[in-house]
Symmetry: D2
Subunit: 339 residues, 4 copies
């Protein structure tokens, strides 16, 4: 149950209401940003209490969402979530481009790539330090050393960085290296322990959709983050697994207008992993922003054929410049602007 309080109620009144609810053993959360206070009760509300609340002079409106997610539901905020990601604003009226190599492969290479990302006009640098790989014998990333190289490259060219975290135990290392945004990968979308650990890191989180996750499961995963105290969540569609094998995955852009109705969180798209083919990335980036995405995350490499992972889907620096130019146009015609 979501409770919209009347304007003017002070902290003491809100606290009294919360105490009343919690005294019945129910969990209640307060919306972090709203004109009027909004509370969400995440447990089943007994009828007697529901009747009480309906009559409370403090409460203007109660709603009962059909699903069990509450804190990420559209109804829990007055407006859409705006996130400050290391100085880059992500949300309703901006379009962001995140770019970088699949994996951080050395100091020189990440610097070379970061320079081209910055030159292209993209906003945020990405790159994997901890790599989830299907085979135990494949290159698993540089780990903590990769975090350092990525952050240094980002700072050198004035860009915040985002990179994947695979284990709760690594949270301190990510914070120590001042990683601006922690990414939860597709395979870990329902790694609930990791979600709980990352939620308290105090950083924005990029939550990729699982390979075969429904929209409902995805929003529940986001709810794990929100219930753990993380409000700056960016959803990332990256293609789902279907019968089609002509492309690596099937990019599901239908979720963009759908999620705009279901949640206040911004959604970006990763067309590189979806398609698995570099030539498809530019048109799919355009389509993503046209469908309402708050941005795109793409892979770029100065020499894709030398990449230690996912070379075939990496853009060349010049192609990235085209993606940013297209993003600017699509942003403009939808009344937005580049971040």
């Amino acid at each position: 149950m979501i409770l919209r309080l009347k304007r003017g109620g002070g902290p003491a009144e809100i606290q009294a209401l919360r105490s009343r609810i919690e005294s019945e053993g129910l969990r209640v959360y307060q919306s972090p940003e709203c004109l009027r206070p909004i509370l969400a009760i995440v447990d089943k509300v007994p009828e007697a209490l529901a009747a009480d609340l309906l009559q409370s002079p403090q409460i203007e409106e109660t709603t009962q969402p059909k699903t069990a997610w509450r804190l990420v539901a559209r109804e829990f905020r007055d407006s859409r979530t705006q996130i400050d990601l290391g100085g880059v604003r992500i949300g309703d009226d901006t379009v962001v481009v995140i770019a970088g190599p699949c994996s951080v492969e050395g100091r020189d290479l990440i610097e070379e790539t970061a320079r081209s990302v910055a030159d292209s006009g993209a906003h945020i640098l990405r790159g994997g330090a901890f790599k989830p790989r299907t085979s135990p014998y494949a290159f698993q990333g540089f780990g903590v050393e990769g975090l350092r190289q990525l952050k240094d490259a980002g700072e050198k060219f004035g860009m915040p960085v985002v990179t994947e975290i695979m284990d709760a135990a690594d949270v301190p290392a990510f914070v120590d290296h001042d990683i601006d945004c922690l990414q939860i990968g597709a395979r870990n979308m329902q790694n609930f322990r990791l979600l709980k650990a990352v939620a308290v890191a105090g950083r924005p989180v990029l939550l990729k959709r699982g390979l075969s996750s429904t929209v409902e499961e995805w929003l529940y995963a986001a709810e794990y983050l929100a219930a753990g105290g993380c409000h700056d969540i960016i959803l990332c569609e990256r293609g789902i697994r279907t019968f089609e094998t002509a492309t690596r995955n099937t990019l599901d852009l239908t979720v963009l207008p759908l999620l705009a109705e279901l949640t206040h969180l911004p959604v970006i798209v990763d067309p590189s992993h979806a398609a698995g083919i570099a030539r498809l990335v530019a048109p799919l980036s355009r389509a993503s922003i046209a469908a309402g995405a708050a941005g795109v995350a793409v892979e770029v490499h100065p020499r894709p054929h030398e990449a230690r992972s996912d070379g075939p889907q990496a853009l060349l620096p010049g192609e990235l410049t085209g993606v940013v130019a297209d993003a600017r146009i699509q942003a403009a015609i939808s009344g937005r602007q580049l971040a």
Copy 2:
């Protein structure tokens, strides 16, 4: 094997070459439109003949596509296919909007809808006369009477019409009623008898992708049409079946840039059947054209809640006007124009 002949060869020379190939029991087709004659041999070419052909002074170049489709392959044409659909040009540099109700439900209603389609600036009228329905007890369409009503409505407002054909035996009725474009529905994409019958109808064909058809199977279905003599084929992506149930189907826009590499045929998108939710149609239409679609086909109804089928996915006339306006903008920024 695809053979590109040198310029200047006359019909007699081409015929001699074809005879040489056919004398070995191989099937050979000639490209309908090209600067230089192009021939495709669709059977396995014996080594001796292949060696012969490579040395032929008439032949400039031979290519061996990896897949067995030939006539719809990019290599079989010099340029992309341009189709004249009852006066509307579909293909590389135009963007077309096809609109109409799910089913033709009576003379007054189809006229009312046709008027709003014409007013919106859309180009082609659609509407089902023969309806494939999951249940035998559901409304199956008005049949031939529906064809008549649709065509009359199209003529009244100066628009060509497209409608689905479900049985080879109905081809004469479609031709008699001067239906401008015959649609093969998703469930019939691999109804090979129907494909063969429609191929000789002498009309453009709109070939919808099957619910769980791969790109490869789709192009083979188009090849059935082409091998049967139909060159004016429009492919239509309409969503595939996946595990996701939040939307009716999953729209696969990844195929747009992919098909641009694999075939010379134009591809349009039907976001109405993909999403199954009217509110998602406008953003998905924008995304489709941004990804390179030659147009969109959408459902519209003056009073969606009264529709006998698929009401929840039908746009209101005013919403259709917005879709056409968006299509115009997306066409413009990609160097194209409305058809």
Copy 3:
């Protein structure tokens, strides 16, 4: 709505009840075989009529199935459907083995194969005369000549035959050649025109599940046959399309106990098309019968590597003998016997 009448009602009383229902514009069907008469109304019953029927002294019980299929619903029969397929009994207490080549490839070969099928103890001969092929250039079957060869081979070795029909226009040829059972292939499961035409052929029908058809859609397809007058319907699970590519399709045996609850029709399994690998056919046949299948349909070829289609999934004659032996054991431990 399904109406179970009291015992003892004569034809005149039943006809009066039907007339009463039909006078309101509703379609009503009578169950072909039952201790007490059962009627199914397939249209929405107005409240007034429903109240009337509930009070009718003739009616013992009314039920309202949740789905719109009626004639194939469990409730429409007192017992499960038993089918006489050219002398072979298919249904509740028997297990049948159908075997033969993918396609009929000539008189000698089909006779050689039929001999080994008969020798193995299998009951029914299968073989394709009309072949649905993905590519228009692939071998499309011998057509009517194939029907003749198949029927002759069946007669020579005392087995009824089943083979696929692809077009409504071919029904007379199938009847003329006395084909014992008409098969609707997976690609045509929702070719509704074909279903309607086959329903009136007066022969048992083997209805394969579509590649991506839900159980619901499959039963609706069966309902098309039943509504058209065909009561002898055998469902055939043959694998569905999923993300897994290690096998040709994913065999869905979960449907066997599920369908036993939803319908009175017998269900058999085709493990050859599901797996696409001959070595997997024997264990999957055992599993199918253990899960309750009324039989299996498998492909066999004396020299699989010479087969013109689907050789990799064809059993050798000796392997078929093993499948029949296993079927006998699985039948016995489930209280059934070979047909």
Copy 4:
């Protein structure tokens, strides 16, 4: 590359060979149980070394599997893996039944359930202490207290226990409570950090297939365990995610004969999670063992409607007895016996 050494080579000779390989920077593993020593090199072998090895007098045979898994490949063992799971033997010639509630819900209830599991003749007790739940607000299990209750119940009735581990940090708690087998759940199949941590726990591991994991990815996940030092791995098919919604998942029994060719590991089946409907569990259990499964894992609850999770798929104790009886029969007719 897999190297089969000649008989009679002593440890020193094997060590010399390993050193030779490792000196080139390659990783090499030795098979734990074989008549003749078998080594697997998991990195790409340089041509010069490959030539050397082919000529080595110690080596009888080299094979180059097509895929990159080595230690779980059929070729890495002389025979199939046999596992001693707390006294219960799992592997080639036995059939095991694992049963218990979805989650451990209290000391009395788990004891009551354990008694009925023991009475039914099943061999191993299961029950969740750490529960991965889609919603953050759903019951998450009793945690460590659940481990204690489960182990106590197992000891009281003489059964080893298996339960899911969700986090690397919990390994010590599982070992301290002497959990006999650690389960990796479907959602964590590609939680590579967890796989690495569990691999060194010194306990057998039950590795569930991911919801949308291919056979290849599943075997790679097993390879993570094997490369980490765990040789006692049991694979568990539990249904995959497809378009079909009539059942919770689609049970993929095709993998049973397929895996028998690809790996030496035993495979069991969990029909409860696959079907999600208790009535389907018994026939699917029979089918699983008929297709070659080394056992089944099923859910049972004395009062399913009171279960805190997954009640609809839980068997009643009496139904479990039937599953064990069927397993005994299916084991017998396939030349095996209950564990």
